[in-house]
């Protein structure tokens, strides 16, 4: 038997040549596809149309690359190597030498090496914290959204309480109880971030669970775990990825703040927040110690935010169309 439709000649001017879905747009329902054919090629094409997106990808990529290959970059000094005669050397261009391109801190340690080393901690803590928050938050959001009723009431109430609770205060309590460490920072950041995932997941699941394909699955006799895993979760992935990236930026910032306050990463480990804290006393006559670390935080967070923003616009079909049609430059 031949397929019923399909060979309708394409009337629309081909704005994008979509290799994944040819000849099937019979004009029945142009919005029906909702951009599901998101292949890697699609992603790249849309990335090339957005300067902000490209900047986000470039900065985040550089950040990640630095964190990963940091220790193996040649000609970079040991970040823990102290040299008191070389303390507070200025960067190149302000009287410094190429031995320490960004200068040194109060113990004579190379700032560039410490920045690279700090990237590693920042990314690690950020990813671990957001991963944990996403895992817990999504699970709770699925349960709250799909089952509703008292499960939803309990989970949403806890999320609301957590939302109202200042994260720094929670961090302080934890540090007092367990002593400062990287793990505590991860736990605290995850604890103050999970409810964002819960709320987003819950509200998405609220609409998804009334959709026909979920009802169809229920009609097939599928149980709740199966419906959540096979039907709800796959439809959350794109939103969750965007949210993970967005939360990653916040987590990097939080880690810096915690380390700056002394609750987080402890010396001799280095972190951008810790570098600012340590360079704070010398800010009047050695501006470079705090400046480069601060800039690193700002640029990394900006890059990750740009990436998240672009991902979001890519996911949002309407927004995506706008990028193609209205904003050739930006």
């Amino acid at each position: 038997m031949s397929p019923p439709t399909g060979k309708t000649p394409a009337v629309n001017p081909p704005t994008v040549t979509d290799p994944a879905a040819p000849a099937t747009h019979s004009g029945l329902d142009p919005g029906a596809d909702s951009g599901e054919a998101r292949t890697l090629a699609d992603l790249r094409r849309h990335l090339l149309k957005s300067k902000a997106g490209m900047a986000g990808v470039a900065i985040t990529g550089l950040f990640a690359l630095t964190a990963i290959v940091g220790p193996w970059i040649p000609f970079i000094a040991d970040p823990a190597q102290q040299s008191l005669p070389d303390r507070l050397k200025p960067p190149v261009g302000w009287g410094g030498t190429w031995a320490h391109p960004l200068g040194t801190d109060q113990l004579g340690r190379d700032l560039l090496a410490r920045l690279i080393d700090g990237a590693r901690i920042s990314l690690l803590v950020g990813l671990a914290a957001v991963g944990l928050a996403a895992l817990i938050g999504t699970l709770l959001g699925l349960v709250a959204g799909y089952f509703g009723g008292w499960a939803d009431t309990v989970i949403s109430s806890v999320a609301d309480v957590q939302m109202a609770f200042p994260g720094v205060l929670a961090g302080l309590i934890f540090v007092l109880a367990f002593g400062p460490s990287v793990w505590i920072v991860i736990a605290v950041i995850a604890m103050s971030g999970w409810m964002v995932f819960t709320r987003v997941t819950r509200s998405l699941v609220f609409t998804l669970r009334t959709s026909l394909f979920v009802e169809a699955s229920e009609m097939s006799g599928a149980g709740s775990p199966r419906i959540m895993r096979r039907h709800l979760l796959p439809n959350l992935v794109s939103s969750l990825i965007t949210l993970i990236v967005l939360e990653l930026a916040a987590a990097i910032l939080s880690e810096s703040a915690f380390s700056f306050l002394g609750f987080g990463v402890q010396p001799p480990q280095s972190s951008w927040g810790l570098m600012i804290e340590q360079g704070r006393d010398y800010i009047t006559h050695a501006w470079w110690v705090v400046t480069f670390a601060g800039m690193a935080i700002a640029v990394a967070v900006l890059g990750v935010n740009l990436l998240s923003l672009w991902l979001q616009s890519f996911n949002d079909v309407a927004e995506r169309e706008q990028i193609i049609l209205d904003r050739p430059g930006m």
Partner: protein, 347 residues
């Protein structure tokens, strides 16, 4: 309750358009219906401001679908057609009344037992665009009933899925593609394949063709008829499309605001419509015959809210022939001729 009105004698069919009726005439329900609803009532509770209001989605609804039979269920949007279908499938718990499957009361089965029942009763959905998960391949969607109810896995599962797809006229290659690659008609074929995977005896088709192009509708209806002949399926075919209902149904039931107003063999309804609502519905269908000059009976006003249905006969706000009694007493569904029942005080 007076019964003074004379039931109209089964009038001879108008010669113009009964060609499709040759073999029909309402097959009698053979030895026991496969699915039966008795006095099904579904009330939803809705909070309006601070008050809790009752939505009368379905009231005292009786229906029986025999083996191999197609019952068409007609009514305006929001009249409770879908609720009736879902109540028969256990997807909506009735407030009152019973659901019987092959004579066995299944109304109060546990969730788990109802899940097992899904092998026998299935549903085809209105909108094939949202009835398939956009993130899952057609093959995965169609395989789901097997994964839930059977031990078929791997190659066996694959060949079972391909067999199903071919049964509904989809190429075997469709299994590996996502729904977006298919047209509405093709998707509806996949939805039908999924519904029939476990060879159910009873299928509720909830506006199965309304979301499709007119040119595709006929193909899907014909496919459903073919599959019915092949597997001896029974359908409850819910639609507001009177032409499709006429084409596919053995018997036709007309609903208005949660209540059955008329039910009978196809010929009873299409040639001898008795309830004023049925008449108004039928008169709204254009007849492709210039000689036919049936008077159009306009329906004025909107469907009243099911939160506040009119007293007496629910059709009284729009009925052209309503008398005083219609505003006070609810008309019972009475058999006017064998198999043809009407709920009306006047006609």
């Amino acid at each position: 309750m007076t019964d003074a009105q004379n039931p109209p004698a089964p009038a001879p069919a108008p010669a113009a358009d009964d060609a499709d009726d040759a073999g029909g005439g309402g097959r009698p329900v053979a030895d026991g219906p496969i699915v039966e609803g008795r006095g099904l009532t579904v009330h939803f509770y809705k909070r309006v401001g601070s008050r809790r209001r009752t939505v009368h989605a379905l009231d005292d609804f009786d229906i029986a679908v025999g083996p191999g039979e197609t019952v068409g269920l007609v009514g305006e949007s929001g009249c409770g057609k879908s609720t009736a279908g879902r109540a028969l499938l256990g997807a909506v718990r009735p407030t009152a009344g019973r659901v019987l499957f092959q004579g066995e009361d299944v109304t109060d089965l546990s969730r788990a037992r109802w899940r097992a029942m899904r092998k026998h009763v299935q549903m085809i959905f209105q909108d094939p665009y949202s009835a398939l998960n956009p993130k899952r391949k057609i093959g995965e969607s169609v395989a789901e009933p097997y994964l839930v109810h059977t031990r078929l896995r791997g190659r066996e599962l694959e060949s079972a899925v391909i067999e199903l797809l071919e049964m509904v006229g989809l190429p075997a290659g469709a299994a590996g593609k996502y729904p977006h690659a298919f047209s509405g008609g093709q998707r509806q074929r996949a939805v039908i394949a999924r519904a029939l995977a476990l060879r159910p005896g009873f299928v509720v088709a909830d506006e199965a063709t309304s979301a499709l192009d007119v040119s595709i509708q006929a193909q899907i209806v014909n496919l459903m008829v073919e599959l019915q002949a092949e597997f001896g399926l029974s359908y409850l075919f819910i639609s507001h499309n009177l032409a499709v209902i006429r084409h596919i149904s053995d018997r036709v039931a007309i609903m208005y605001l949660g209540r059955l107003v008329e039910i009978g063999a196809r010929s009873d309804i299409y040639e001898n419509a008795t309830h004023p609502y049925t008449r108004a519905l039928l008169s709204s269908v254009p007849v492709p015959d210039p000689a036919s000059r049936t008077a159009h009976i306009p329906l004025t006003g909107d469907l009243p809210s099911p939160m506040d249905p009119p007293k007496g006969c629910r059709f009284n706000t729009r009925c052209p022939v309503a008398v005083d009694q219609c505003f006070t007493d609810r008309p019972p569904l009475e058999e006017r001729s064998p198999g043809h029942s009407v709920a009306c005080w006047v006609n």
